[in-house]
Symmetry: C2
Subunit: 363 residues, 2 copies
């Protein structure tokens, strides 16, 4: 395995989109949401180790999840668990990992990935990542992985690529023309039809020199704030430096801060069964379904006259469903949610309402 290859897993999210499965105390990345026996961060870590030595993998997370990360990833070097004292979006998070890695290995090439996505075809993922790392090592490119869209999804960001500007032998790496935030349905349909757009996976590949240079050009303050602490990195004083310095970084995404501005941005087209699992609908798509189209997680669920529902309940609970179609039925930690699938987008308002009326203990 190439010792210059490094991985950075971003695991600071506190997403409530999967509420009540995902709670602030244990967000989605720490849940075995697909009932496979591994949590999403475990899947992400194990997937990376196909290409990257385990000791080269870093996880950036919130302080409150540091223990959970250590528990769930016994193979990780605990020095590689980086704790953000406060959330500052992805750019400061990546800058922190970047400078940590720079101290270890100036010849590093890095894969940066969210901790809570799923990828079904791990062998294809491995190929793509190796290809992208190889390209990143030999070019001063900032690579992002773009997923071949299969439907006009309005929940994803899109990347427009320049088909004429193919930069690898297999025709899978293209120069990026533009990034688009989540589009309206009509626009998404047009994107899909044009063939020039890919879903933005939020997985990045670049060499250390390339990303250092990009920060120096586009986000110099953030890079400098973190770099000032290098003397304390890998010492007992690192955390107290970060606790003071990190909050002074502005909160900005790597997409907005660098990828949308830099001219050396390329996309590696990929098709490896990816989902950001951002919605119950996407979870439903990724769970195996019975003959009635029900996606059931839970060992004692008995469904009668029930179709196309997603049911996610504890194994010890007997759950009887009679005549409820197209529903989301979830129980976790003494919270029960019963919701029509079509109303899923109302969940964020519901969660806010719960927070307002019941306080934080249920969120």
């Amino acid at each position: 395995m190439n010792e210059n290859y490094y991985g950075v897993i971003m695991a600071g999210g506190v997403g409530t989109r999967f509420w009540p499965m995902s709670l602030t105390a244990r967000p989605k990345q720490f849940i075995d949401i697909l009932n496979t026996g591994e949590t999403l961060i475990q899947q992400t870590f194990n997937r990376m180790t196909r290409v990257i030595p385990p000791e080269n993998i870093f996880v950036v997370t919130s302080k409150m999840y540091a223990n959970t990360v250590a528990e769930q990833l016994p193979a990780i070097n605990v020095d590689n668990i980086l704790c953000e004292p406060i959330r500052r979006n992805t750019a400061p998070c990546i800058a922190y990992a970047m400078h940590k890695i720079a101290l270890k290995n100036p010849k590093a090439a890095m894969v940066v990935a969210p901790s809570d996505h799923i990828i079904l075809k791990e062998d294809v993922f491995e190929e793509v990542i190796l290809n992208a790392l190889h390209a990143a090592v030999h070019n001063n490119w900032l690579l992002t992985l773009g997923i071949k869209p299969s439907r006009p999804d309005t929940g994803y960001g899109y990347i427009q690529f320049d088909e004429s500007d193919t930069n690898d032998g297999e025709g899978n790496i293209f120069k990026v023309k533009s990034f688009t935030e989540k589009p309206e349905l009509d626009l998404a349909k047009a994107f899909l039809q044009s063939g020039d757009f890919l879903w933005n996976s939020g997985i990045f590949v670049w060499s250390l020199p390339a990303i250092l240079e990009a920060f120096t050009i586009w986000l110099p303050e953030i890079s400098q704030i973190i770099a000032r602490g290098k003397a304390w990195f890998y010492t007992p004083d690192e955390q107290s430096f970060i606790d003071k310095a990190f909050p002074t970084c502005k909160a900005i995404s790597i997409d907005y801060g660098i990828m949308e501005k830099a001219s050396n941005v390329y996309v590696h087209r990929a098709d490896f069964g990816w989902s950001d699992l951002g919605t119950w609908g996407s979870l439903y798509e990724n769970l195996s379904r019975d003959e009635n189209g029900n996606a059931i997680v839970g060992k004692q669920v008995m469904a009668y006259d029930t179709k196309n529902s997603v049911i996610h309940v504890p194994n010890e609970k007997l759950v009887i469903i009679q005549g409820i179609d197209d529903a989301i039925i979830v129980e976790n930690e003494n919270i029960l949610l019963i919701c029509k699938k079509e109303d899923e987008q109302k969940l964020r308002f519901i969660v806010e309402d719960v927070r307002r009326k019941k306080g934080d203990k249920f969120v």
Copy 2:
């Protein structure tokens, strides 16, 4: 209070119609199903004490519920808890209580009532019972209480009365012409329209001599089997006698065994907000409902875009319902049921299916 008045509460039911609220280990009569602060048997007992001295009230129940009865009715004389070793329908149950009371007070008049019905207008109930007891003491009548029907309910038995044969000053006691089991809807509608039919409440009022005579005529074997044990009644040997004798009685209802056959059967018309709470639908009718028609028991239920549903969940559980109309949502003892109200009649098959697939522990 008249010391000749006695009460018999029948509390041996193991009904699963309210499953999973009602479980074999704790059936409906022992549950505060209306969330009033009292279980149904507590309500029944307390209602009786408006007319009957507490020490004159007997409860006939299954052995397995004897402790529950004693716990829930601290005012009861524990000698008055009669334990059936096996269920034998209502006639043997009533014969047992009858002979126990006969030993105490040959001048007794008795009210016999199920333990799991509700009566909203307790002052009207008190009036009716006093009137019926008075009539029973002065006549050799077997009285049953008939409820003025408010809808063509197909879940109740009906009593046809002879309007011309009014036997009390207020015109509320009539000779019974016939009993009808649960009718089809068309017949129930005809019953309602005719004005000659009342719902059969299963509440009986009679003097001890009248019911003793009726048993001697119509069910002599049952009466004799029980009467043979009189020497052991109120002694430590009573239970072992009953354990042997009771199962030798044939299983038969008092309705079929006596009331439908005897010629001295009268009905006292009444209208005191009665329901046998035999269905979730009837529970729904009897629970208070919010502005969206939802009947909610549970302190932390938040319902959005949800109408006409009955929700019965533990107070400590946060339950969020979004967009689910006309449903029954019940959680009890690690069992969750979600069912359309219109499918309620399928519940008994579901409960049987649960018993078959999961064994008795969930039933």
